[in-house]
Every structure is written in C-alpha cells, then in structure tokens.
C-alpha cells in the first residue's frame, strides 16, 4: 500500500509537467489549428529564464584575497555578488536563494513576448499549409532555439536549486500512519504539483469566466462565425499563443530545481506531451490535463522494480502501450470532440 501511494505521488509531479505542456499544446492546436513541435523548446526557454535570473542575481565582481592562492599559486580572486554590495550579505544571499520563484515574475512577460513573436513572425505563415509543413517548421524552430541556448549556456546541465526553505523531503508515510521511510516525498515536488494545479485552474477560469475567454472558446468552436460577428479573432488567438507559451515557460521555470536544465530538455518532454494530447483527445483541454496526470502515474508504476522484473522494458513502452489501447477503444481519445482533425 505504501508503495502504491508512493508511486501515485511520484506520478503526480511528473504528470504535472506533462499536463502543463499538453495544456499549452492543446490551447494552440484548439485555437490556431497548429501542431506546435516547438512547444518543448518553450518549456526549455522557461527553464533558462530561471537560469538567467539566477546567474544575473549572482553577477559578481572579483576581489583579490591575498591569504589564499588559486590552482596556479597566484593570489586567489574571490567572486563577490553585487547584491551583497547593495543589500548586505544576508539579504543578498536570500535574494539569490529565491531566484527560481522570483523568475516567475520575470518569465511571464518574456514568454508571452516570445510566443507573440513566434506566432506573428513565423507560424502565422503556415496556417493554411498542411499539418506536415507545420510540424516541419516548428520542429526546425525547436532545433534552432536549442542550438542558440547551447551556444550561450553550454551543453552541460546547470544546477539551479530551490530556495533552502524547500530543499529536502518530508516523511509523508508517517503523516498517514505508515512506518518511517516508507513514503518520502521532496518538498519542491509538492510545490510543483500545487503550482501546476493553480496554473491549470487559472487557465480554465480565464477561458470560462472572462469575456476574452468566452470569445476564444467561441472561436475554437466556430472561427468563421465569430469572425463574421466583427471580432478580430486572429488577434485573440495570437494572445492565446502567448499565454500557451507562458504556461509552458512557467512549467519550465518551476521544473528547474527538480532536474538541472540543459538545452535539450524540451525534446525529452515533447514527444510524451504529444502522446498526452492524443490520449486526452485532440483539442480537449480537460482531456489534456487528465491524460497528463494519468500517464505520469502509469509511468511511475511501470518503473517500479516489480513491474520491470515481471515485464522487462515495460517502463519504456507503457505510455505508448496505453496510447494504442485508448486509441483503439476510443479513437478520439479520452475526451476528444467530434470533428477535430477529421475533416
């Protein structure tokens, strides 16, 4: 039982990332009809927003410490962050420590901006082209973005830890009456899970309870009619692309303390997120979220040593296996709408 709960918890944080990326993908597909293979790159760019702010806050000047020597035997140059000079050592360290949550504020406008430029600059020229063309151009864009990031940040992962207050883990098992060490769960993964719920809730509320959201939903249902009513639906869809980019970016920012980011992390998530979208049902936002969590949890269960020893390799194919079963039994996915990608 404790292992069961443990793997559900593990699946939830993995599922959170899948759900957030798939949500953005579905928003773009549902509004603009574009299959965006650069969405993983947006997730990665979000992560690098956190890396950049963390590096920016750690910008230092050097002072020579005559009492110590460097590896060549010269007096050692010690880095002193500017924030130490400006705010004092304790406050400066606290600011650097909270770099990742602070990046959220910084990442939202940047990611919306990137999304806006991406849509206006490139993707809008491919609306009337076949899906294969859209996939090729967005995939190409993803590779270009990756290489740019690698050029500036290198190929190695860059450690960007969570604030000290959220480091480490807690014994969830003891809280619910199991033995000590039975269910250990890191604080930050819990933060990530709740953060994803907040973002998902905010996106749904935005679409459900605002006039803007209502128009967008109407546009998703029947773009032509909404256009005929004199509403500039294209502009709203462009903004939705920006919002989808921001959702992927925020998912990336908060993911940084879980695993150190590198330039190809987006690709690792992209394929799985597409499977999530297809399983959830093309164009269905609740489907994308539900499938994200479902596949995250299934992946966790398939990675247990019991599963791997009884069904070798199951951990690597489980998601695709489930996708095949769902598509055979429910060809439109879990919550797919009739008519999407069927014309």
């Amino acid at each position: 039982m404790d292992q069961f709960i443990l793997q559900i918890l593990n699946g939830l944080d993995k599922g959170s990332a899948y759900a957030l990326i798939a949500l953005g993908l579905t928003l773009i597909f549902g509004t603009l009809g574009v299959v965006n293979f650069a969405h993983g790159a947006l997730f990665m760019l979000g992560s690098f927003c956190a890396v950049t702010l963390s590096k920016f806050l750690s910008l230092s000047h050097k002072i020579v410490d005559e009492t110590r020597t460097d590896f060549l035997g010269n007096p050692m140059e010690v880095d002193v962050p500017y924030v130490h000079d400006w705010f004092g050592v304790a406050a400066g360290d606290a600011i650097i420590d909270w770099a990742v949550p602070l990046s959220l504020i910084f990442a939202i406008p940047i990611m919306i901006g990137i999304g806006y430029v991406m849509e206006r600059g490139l993707i809008k020229h491919f609306y009337k082209r076949p899906h294969a063309d859209q996939i090729l151009v967005t995939f190409g864009l993803a590779i270009v973005i990756q290489e740019i990031v690698k050029y500036y940040y290198g190929a190695n992962p860059i450690p960007t830890p969570a604030p000290s207050a959220f480091k480490g883990s807690f014994d969830f098992g003891v809280l619910v009456g199991f033995d000590a060490n039975a269910i250990i769960y890191p604080y930050w993964r819990l933060v990530y899970f709740f953060f994803s719920l907040v973002i998902i809730g905010a996106v749904f509320a935005f679409l459900r309870f605002t006039t803007f959201g209502m128009v967008v939903r109407a546009g998703m249902a029947d773009r032509e009619t909404v256009g005929l009513l004199g509403i500039d639906i294209d502009k709203r869809f462009t903004i939705m692309f920006g919002i989808a980019a921001a959702v992927a970016g925020l998912a990336g920012v908060m993911y940084v303390p879980i695993n150190p980011p590198n330039y190809h992390m987006g690709m690792d998530f992209l394929v799985l997120s597409f499977v999530v979208v297809v399983v959830g049902g093309m164009g269905s936002l609740p489907g994308a979220v539900a499938a994200g969590f479902l596949l995250g949890i299934l992946e966790s269960f398939a990675s247990t040593s019991w599963a791997v020893s009884n069904l070798p390799g199951i951990n690597q194919v489980i998601i695709y296996l489930v996708a095949i079963i769902i598509l055979l039994t429910r060809p439109r996915g879990l919550m797919g709408r009739k008519g999407v990608m069927e014309e």
Binding site: Q3, L72, P157, P159
Partner: protein, 454 residues
C-alpha cells in the same frame, strides 16, 4: 606514314583501369609504396581529433580539444613544453614528430557511433589523418576503434570506461590510457569497506547499456567480495530524465547504500533526485544511508552542483594529485600550469587523458622511427613510462590497456569554485587494480594483429 599504336579497345581499357584507380578511396591507394595508410610527407603529419562538439557531451569534447591543441603546441615546440619535460621518455624534442610539423583536423562524434565513424572515416580518407583519437563514450570508442583497425591507422582512445574497449572489443590498432569499470570497482571497494563497513546492503541503479552493465558487474563483484550484499539492481533507460520512480522505493528496500551506475546527464539527474528524496540524510538498518557514483566526471559533476557533497567515486586522474600526493604524480603540475595559463582554469581528467595519449603516440612513433602503425603498436606494447601525471604506468601488450594508480574522490562539502568540486580520498596503487588478461569481465574477443592498411 606512321602507324598509331592506339586501338579503340585499348584506350577504353586503359581509361577504365585508370578511372577505377582514381576512384578508389584515398586510404586504399595512398602512398602504397610506404606500405601503410596515410604515410605523411616530409614536412607535416596530420592527426585526427574526433570529439563530441555537439550533443550533450559537447563540453567534455571542448575540454578534450583544448588538451589536444595544447599537446600539438608542445610537440611543435610552442608554449612551455608541458609534460615533455617530466615524461620519462626523452625522445620528443619539440620539433614535431620525426621532424614533421604536427597538424590536426577535428571531427564531431556527436556521441553517436554512426556519426563518430563517419567523421573518423572522413578524417582518414579526405584529410589523411594517420592517427585518430578522442571520444567520450564507450559505444563511440568501440565503433571507431574497429574502423581504425580496418583502415590501418592507430586509435588512441579518449574517455571510454567500459571493460569491453580493451576486453571483448579490443583491437591491435587501439590503445586506451583511461581506466575502466573493473579498475573503478577494485579501487573503490576497499575504500567503501573502510569508510562504510563490510556489512552493507547495496541497491544498484544501472544505465541500460554496455558501460552500465560492466560497471555494475565490476562494483558488485568487488563489493560482494568484501562482504556487501546486493539487494536489488534495476536498469534505467538511457533516455530517462526523471529518476524519482526509481529512487523512491530505494529507502524502503532494505538497502543502506545506493550505487548509481550512471554517467553524464543520467548521473546528474539521478544524483539530484536521490538527494531530493532525502537519501543523504536518511538512516537505514541503523546506519547512515550512503550514495556511491563509481565513475566521476568533474565536468558533469558541475551539473549536479552541491548534490555531490560527500559522494564517493573514482577518477582516472585529478589536477591536485601532485600537490596532495607527492612527486610520484609528477607531470601533473606541469600540465596544470600549461593548461591553466592558456585557458584560465584547471584541466579535467578528459583533458589529461587526451593530452597524454597524444604525447604517447608521438613518443612511440619517434622511438620506432616510423609512422607505420605496426611499428607504433610494437613501440607501445609493454611500454613502461612515468612523469605523465599518473605515476609509473604500463601499456600492457596483452590488451593495450594502461595500468596505473586510480584516484578515489569524494564530493567536497564546501567547494571554493566550480573547478574544485572533489577532494582526493585515496590513490589506489596500480597493483590493486591490475587483473589477468583472461579475467571473466574481459573475456571473449581477440586483439588480432596490427593492420598497417594500404
């Protein structure tokens, strides 16, 4: 009246034969009179540096390339000479190799066997490289080594730690200076027993490919011989990015040590996840829970940041060796000085092994008095040397593996900078890591005979 000797048939025949000759790959016909592939001209010789310049190991490749450039500079008489002054063999005098200026070409392995073979082939066929060196994975090393054997050039392996490179996949034209999985296990086990006791239960997470298997086997057999028990060993996909599902059950498995047979990005993420899940603070079986990473890469360890604190592992070499362990490791400081002054930071073990391999090749050619691969093989086989940073070393003739001391390191609790992440715990003497050429972990395969090509 003169009578022409040309017949239509004769011209066509001659043309076809000449055309076929010209169309042959360069390496098959080049300088056939010398009897070996890519024999250099009188003024220069070309070496091929095949390193990952793109892909996840690009930073390691960049450090390898820095070391190669430094080695070429020193061989050609530039800079401060680096290890040329400490090397026990004194035939290299800064005039290139056998009086020829050393030039080099580079290829990008992308850490993919196919790409690595293609770039090595291109350097051999198009650029006339007489020796190929580099790489940062065993898959690449084994693939390129086999290619060099077929093509008739020498392969001086870079970063490759799998037993198979000088085990079942060994080749007469291939040589490895870097240590291997067996040596890591043999060096680590006594230190693990001394630090953590002999009554320990280990849980292995192993990258699901060749290097992972040989490392798990080596560490398991070495630690089990000292009394440890292995409670579980789980293979993890090479493409895995989040290891939480594999890490989470560890604490409740009865194990009190986690061995991460992971390298590169896998290691960074699995170690980060293990620390996140509180394994470093946990108690199991009444003991402090411990994590072990058999093969350390200082460059990749930077990615794991503070999570490496207190974690034991092994290295081929460390830039602090001579300062901390004395003159046995002479050459280390000379290399660190040249490298540090040129690039501004200390060299990694990747840089060290590739620099040394280049010098060893140049030295072997000079001692042999020939670039012929078979003469080079003969000069390197059984060659004993010193002064290249790792203490007295033997290039064993049976399998073309270098035998030297192995460094056991631990992640520093409070590193001063990103180049000073580990501290040396112990240097395991070469005798303890030497094995029989017929050892089961290296069984199968044959060295064969050297191929001079042409």
């Amino acid at each position: 009246m003169s009578k022409s000797n040309f017949s239509r048939r004769g011209v066509l025949k001659t043309g076809a034969i000449a055309g076929a000759g010209l169309a042959l790959p360069t390496y098959l016909r080049a300088d056939s009179h010398t009897g070996f592939t890519n024999a250099p001209g009188a003024s220069e010789v070309v070496l091929g540096f095949n390193v990952p310049q793109t892909g996840p190991y690009a930073d390691e490749g960049a450090d390898e390339l820095r070391a190669y450039e430094l080695a070429v500079e020193h061989l050609n008489g530039g800079g401060d000479g680096g290890m040329l002054s400490t090397f026990s063999s004194k035939v290299l005098d800064g005039t290139g190799i056998l009086g020829r200026e050393v030039k080099y070409v580079t290829g990008d392995t992308q850490t993919k066997s196919d790409a690595a073979r293609a770039s090595a082939r291109s350097m051999i066929e198009k650029d006339g490289a007489i020796m190929i060196t580099g790489g940062s994975s065993s898959g690449v090393a084994v693939a390129v080594q086999a290619l060099c054997q077929e093509a008739g050039v020498i392969f001086m392996a870079g970063l490759t730690h799998s037993n198979d490179t000088t085990g079942k996949d060994k080749r007469a034209n291939g040589f490895r200076h870097f240590f291997n999985s067996y040596m890591s296990g043999a060096a680590l086990a006594p230190v693990l027993a001394a630090q953590y006791g002999t009554d320990r239960k280990a849980y292995h997470l192993t990258a699901d490919y060749n290097w992972g298997y040989t490392t798990e086997e080596a560490v398991r057999s070495s630690t089990e011989a000292l009394g440890w028990e292995t409670v579980n060993a789980v293979k993890t996909p090479l493409t895995q990015t989040d290891f939480s599902s594999y890490i989470a059950p560890v604490l409740n498995s009865g194990a009190d040590v986690l061995v991460l047979n992971h390298y590169g990005g896998n290691m960074v993420n699995s170690l980060t996840n293990a620390v996140q899940f509180g394994l470093r603070q946990a108690q199991a079986n009444g003991k402090q829970f411990e994590i072990v990473v058999p093969l350390y890469s200082e460059l990749m360890a930077r990615g794991a940041g503070e999570n490496i604190a207190g974690i034991l592992g092994s290295q081929n070499w460390d830039w602090k060796l001579e300062n901390e362990k004395g003159a046995r490791y002479s050459g280390t400081n000379a290399f660190v000085k040249s490298f540090g002054e040129k690039y501004g930071f200390p060299p990694s073990q990747a840089a060290h092994t590739t620099y040394v391999q280049t010098l060893l090749y140049a030295d072997a050619v000079t001692r042999a008095g020939s670039f012929n691969p078979c003469a080079v093989v003969e000069a390197l086989e059984g060659f004993e040397f010193d002064g290249l940073g790792s203490g007295p070393t033997l290039y064993r003739a049976d399998d073309h593996q270098c035998f030297k001391d192995v460094v056991v390191v631990r992640g520093k609790e409070n590193p001063e900078n990103e180049f000073d992440l580990v501290e040396i715990v112990e240097v395991t003497p070469v005798d303890q890591v030497t094995y029989d050429p017929e050892h089961p972990q290296f069984a199968g395969g044959a060295l064969g005979t050297c191929n001079p090509g042409a």
